[in-house]
């Protein structure tokens, strides 16, 4: 049996966009480490035996191998390091890599630093950079940006599942309003307002049915997370660690149109799935994670989640892919507000990508850190109030998602 994997702490910089309050990437990484040390005084950088760096696009950074600057800056010369890149699932994939390293027994204490600086170019140029993770030969010049691909998938999905524009707007409002309780969230720091479903409905068209408030934010931010063996967790943070009880990573086509009739999915799930509408890699990686963690009924067994709401529509699609609802009840599941703070399975209490922000390489780590804070009872000290604290949670899910659903990971975290 492989070794247990634990998380003992982590922190992010505030997520932002534009010129305010930026310390530099390596400076931000250092501050994340220092915040982690305030929470876990026994943790020392000397304890690390591997560093994994989580960063998506050197187009944004105008620097190849930027992780070498951070690593050096943290004083970690001599320590092994490498970078993981897997689109929007970069953070989840880095966590996967760190967990494998600990599970194998080869490493005991693995640090992950993730970051992205998306404000180095204009918003529209930034959208085009991200779209370079589509198949540029076929898609870049005809869609141009990811929201368009997502909108085309969501439009059909919503009709087939009888989910309305208003339904997904409730998700957008929920996450942005949750972010108003989180001082590090970009929505809190920049837009800083509570919004209603009407505000979402009246915001400008991005790509039908997605509007401005249905999409996540382009961000700048850094995150740090410590993944380790249980022996180390018991030594440095015995009362505040979580275990990674399940994990899964799966893949799908780069071009969403290639999902139709795809033999790989037909073999696993039968004909007609995932169509161009379902996130098959989410379902597949969730099944792996549930099996590993002994989750039988996700709605009952999981208390809350931090999931990849790049768009309000994708959060709805993810509910279904995670098995929280099916075609017969997904619309009602949303209308019953099951995933709001007063629901039975709150999703994105930290604000999610819609509210906290989406600096790609840091995003999956941010979700993991928020999940960790909830499970170890640190929300009162990290958020502004207890409004966004999940009451007494035992088990959380972290979801990280790339491309048009091209790579997706899921993790089951449990309070120790």
């Amino acid at each position: 049996m492989s070794r247990k994997v634990c998380i003992i702490g982590g922190a992010t910089t505030p997520f932002d966009y534009g010129p305010t309050g930026f310390e530099s990437i390596e400076g931000g990484a250092a501050e994340c480490v220092k915040e982690t040390q305030q929470d876990v005084p026994e943790f020392s950088l000397r304890d690390l035996d591997l560093m994994i760096y989580s960063h998506f696009s050197v187009h944004f950074g105008h620097q190849l191998a930027p992780e070498w600057i951070i690593h050096d800056h943290l004083g970690l010369v001599g320590l092994p390091h490498y970078r993981v890149e897997n689109g929007g699932n970069t953070g989840g994939s880095a966590l996967y890599a760190a967990a494998l390293a600990v599970m194998s027994g080869h490493h005991d204490v693995v640090g992950i630093v993730g970051w992205e600086t998306m404000d180095t170019v204009s918003q529209s140029q930034g959208s085009e950079f991200i779209a370079m993770a589509s198949d540029i030969r076929y898609e870049l010049m005809v869609g141009g940006i990811y929201p368009i691909y997502y909108a085309a998938m969501a439009n059909k999905w919503m009709k087939e599942n009888k989910v309305s524009e208003e339904d997904v707007a409730t998700i957008a409002a929920k996450n942005k309003n949750n972010a108003m309780d989180n001082p590090k969230a970009q929505w809190y720091r920049n837009d800083h307002k509570y919004i209603t479903v009407d505000d979402v409905m009246n915001s400008r068209l991005i790509s039908y049915p997605i509007k401005k408030y249905d999409r996540s934010l382009m961000s700048r931010g850094v995150a740090f997370l410590v993944v380790c063996s249980e022996k180390y967790a018991k030594k440095v943070n015995p009362n505040h660690y979580v275990t990674v009880d399940g994990m899964g990573l799966s893949s799908c086509t780069i071009r969403a149109g290639d999902r139709l009739n795809n033999p790989g999915w037909k073999e696993r799930y039968g004909p007609g799935y995932p169509e161009m509408t379902e996130f098959a890699a989410c379902r597949n990686s969730a099944e792996q994670a549930y099996k590993m963690a002994g989750i039988k009924d996700p709605v009952k067994d999981i208390d809350f989640g931090e999931i990849h709401d790049a768009f309000s529509t994708s959060e709805a699609q993810i509910y279904k892919a995670l098995g929280l609802a099916d075609q017969t009840n997904i619309a009602q599941f949303i209308r019953d507000e099951r995933t709001s703070m007063h629901g039975d399975i709150p999703m994105n209490p930290g604000g999610g990508l819609l509210g906290y922000g989406h600096p790609v390489g840091a995003t999956g780590l941010m979700s993991t850190i928020e999940c960790y804070y909830q499970l170890v009872g640190m929300i009162p000290q990290k958020h502004l109030s207890r409004k966004t604290e999940v009451p007494n949670p035992e088990c959380g899910i972290v979801n990280s998602h790339a491309g048009t659903g091209t790579s997706i990971s899921n993790f089951i975290l449990r309070r120790h």
């Binding site: 010049m141 141009g144 368009i148 085309a152 400008r204 049915p209 149109g257 290639d258």
Partner: protein, 222 residues
């Protein structure tokens, strides 16, 4: 005993280099390859914060290699697909090897596809990448060309954005030959001849309301 092996003189190349005889340049005016250059900076009033501007502009060569026939086909006003000789699956966008694991990466053959398609799904874009902003709103569809197993993304022209429908029949229309550049933007979809939009309904009114400000916004772009 081993058979004697004649060791030939070292070859110059592993394969013949193609001889490129048609070369075209359609670079937009003002685009230069300046390479990397620091082109300016700004410093805050209290002189504690500095931003520096780096200009980075490079020419890339996309070597289409075995996929070339698709892009050359576009210049000729054709949609070239590929087909697996073993299982018969065909694709646009093309695959040079079959996706079916039972076919064990069988090399595919080229087939000319019909210039007809069907909408699989659609969206109406009111925002886009920098290079497409002036063309908004754009109807983007994923459509299945001929008997392709997959859908390809492209723009749909020739109808009001709110009139697009799932499953509607399409024709593929190419730009005039002299305007083609061997990219997917050489063609777009239009409704098949004889297709008529259905009457206005609640969703169409909603889309109309969403795109009206986009038309106005585009007018303000320089």
């Amino acid at each position: 005993m081993m058979a004697a092996v004649t060791i030939k003189k070292k070859k110059n190349k592993f394969s013949e280099a193609p001889v490129f005889t048609e070369k075209k340049d359609y670079r937009p005016e003002g685009v230069k390859e300046t390479g990397l250059a620091f082109v300016g900076h700004e410093i805050s009033e209290d002189r504690t914060t500095m931003n520096q501007f780096l200009h980075y502009d490079q020419l890339y060569t996309i070597r289409h290699g075995w996929n070339s026939k698709f892009f050359i086909g576009l210049l000729d006003g054709k949609i070239m697909g590929t087909r697996c000789p073993k299982c018969g699956d065909s694709w646009v966008p093309v695959r040079t090897h079959c996706w079916n694991l039972d076919c064990n990466l069988e090399k595919t053959e080229w087939v000319e596809m019909p210039l007809t398609a069907k909408v699989h799904t659609w969206t109406v874009a009111g925002w886009s990448g920098r290079s497409s902003l002036k063309r908004l709103p754009i109807i983007l569809v994923y459509a299945v060309v001929g008997n392709s197993k997959v859908a390809i993304a492209n723009e749909l022209h020739g109808l009001k954005p709110w009139d697009v429908e799932f499953g509607m029949p399409l024709k593929i229309v190419f730009k005039p030959k002299e305007q083609r550049i061997g990219a997917v933007t050489d063609f777009h979809f239009e409704p098949a001849d004889g297709w008529k939009p259905s009457p206005m309904n609640k969703e169409k009114e909603r889309i109309k309301k969403l795109v009206e400000p986009v038309y106005e916004w585009v007018k303000t772009l320089k």
